[in-house]
Amino acid sequence: MGFLQEKVAELGSGTNLIRELLAGAPRPELVPDWAIPLTAVFIGVGILLAIVSLCAMFGTWLERKVSGHIQCRYGPMRAGWHGWLQPLADGVKLLLKEDLIPLGADRVLFVIAPALVLSSILGAMAVMPLAPDFFFADAPMGVFLILALTSTTTIGVIMAGWASNSKWSLYGAMREAAQVVAYEIPLGVSLLVPLMVAGTFNLSEASAGQAGGFGIFGWYIWPVGFGTEGFSLGNPFMIPALVLVFVAVLAETKRAPFDLPETESELVAGFLTEYSGIRWSFFFMEEYAAMFLYCVVASFFFLGGFNSPLTWVFEDGGLLPNVFLFNVMAFVTIVVKGFLGMFVMMWVRWTLPRLRIDQVMTMGYKYLTPLSLLCVLGAGLWEWGKWMIVG
């Protein structure tokens, strides 16, 4: 158990905090040494699972309300106030549904696929800091870890498509593979722009770099910023980079107009065709959690991360310095920013019609990839020039 203890000790402050709370048990001599870190890890995983499922619950509700109101109808209205309990009712329904596995399916892969999809997004979620002083894995290469882990969901999707033993599912899976290969490049490349500006791969460090300026004007997105060191020249390539990241994220998370893998009208939900009940909902939880995660990551590198007027009030040297409230407000800030990003994604979804598969490929290879490379080139030259002139 020594190895495990070492590994657990390396984890971030989130588990440390839980561990300290657990160490204050009424009779600590009865608790074995290895139990406390292990329990802390389990509690941490529970928190992450809760975040993922709450994301999916609120996300589905928001999606239905936004789509309803864009089409001049109400959306769910019956369960609770404006249907806010609808996802709970849906969850109960999905749990009670028959768990079908098709006769010709590869049973093992069919069962593993949803779990793989969900576990990869859980792993990626662990890298996301929840507050400046509460995080699970403070990875120095945070963004790359998130990109790597979220793209493993593709393996799960391809598994699901193959194991279903259905033409539609296989088509959906192949489209997903093609789409992810096409859009992973522009996503990674255009994320290099903020990385160059921030000078770090770590999310909380990037957020700390955008402090000051009433919590708004220090963000990296502004061509001219006003941060902790007064006025500073930003990078004009950040705005196109944000647009590129947004489009690439739409394609990565299989959102319309890039929802080719699960086209309802052509492929009868693609790789989801043969799934039912709770397994089916795992894919949806992954989709909404991935949307939230990508939006939060984008907000960390473009839109200030933890910095907002809310946190600016409680931060060190602000109006009312308070560490606890600062952390709470930081959590609220990233949740709000994540859901605002999700809202824009839904808005785009209910605005644009679905692209054809060749148009998706054209968009990825002919437009996004060269443009993101151009963006990186421009941003790099700009930063170099700034370094040469300003020093």
Partner: protein, 185 residues
């Protein structure tokens, strides 16, 4: 150079048209929904809407004009006549057949059958579509009172008729007795 400018023109156009589209959908998003929460609130119905019929049973005289006018014979009525008053047994309209043509409304001499505004008619069984329009069976209280009054008058008249020859034949006491009898009733 043309290719390059076309390329960037495409990029700009796709960005701009998306913005235009999002402006439109955003406007819809902020506008009040046009749908209504159906069972709780309903859309206003035009006055001349032809829905489920309703019958002013008090006025109806069981003349069968509507039943005769009906092109598919879906109206059936049954009543027993007590003098001028009616004792209702049934007035059914088979909504499996009815085509809501409103032809039964026009011939009614008393203007007592109308097309209503109710359109939702759901049953658990087909036979229940044979809908009874009567609001009460038998006779109404007013009709009963009227009938009793009419019977009384009839009895009075008969008594008067019976008394006349008696008056002519017998002595003075007979009409007084007849008047007392009528008063006692």
């Amino acid at each position: 150079m043309v290719t390059v400018s076309r390329y960037f023109n495409n990029v700009w156009k796709s960005f701009w048209t998306t913005m235009v589209g999002m402006r439109i959908t955003g406007r819809y998003l902020l506008q009040k929904p046009i749908t209504v929460q159906y069972p709780d609130e309903r859309m206003p119905i035009p006055n001349r809407y032809r829905g489920i019929h309703y019958l002013e049973q008090e006025k109806c005289i069981d003349c069968l004009a509507c039943a005769r006018a009906c092109p598919i014979d879906c109206i059936e009525m049954d009543a027993v006549r007590h003098g001028k008053e009616l004792e209702w047994i049934s007035f059914t309209l088979d909504y499996q057949k009815c085509m809501f043509c409103e032809l039964c409304v026009y011939p009614c001499p008393k203007d007592c059958i109308h097309m209503g505004t109710e359109y939702a008619f759901v049953t658990y069984d087909r036979s229940e579509f044979k809908h009874d329009l009567l609001s009460y069976k038998g006779m109404s209280r007013d009709a009963k009172i009227r009938m009793v009054d009419a019977d009384k008058k009839k009895a009075e008249k008969e008594a008067a008729k019976a008394a006349k020859p008696a008056h002519e034949e017998a002595a003075e006491s007979a009409p007084e007795e007849g008047a007392e009898d009528a008063g006692a009733e």
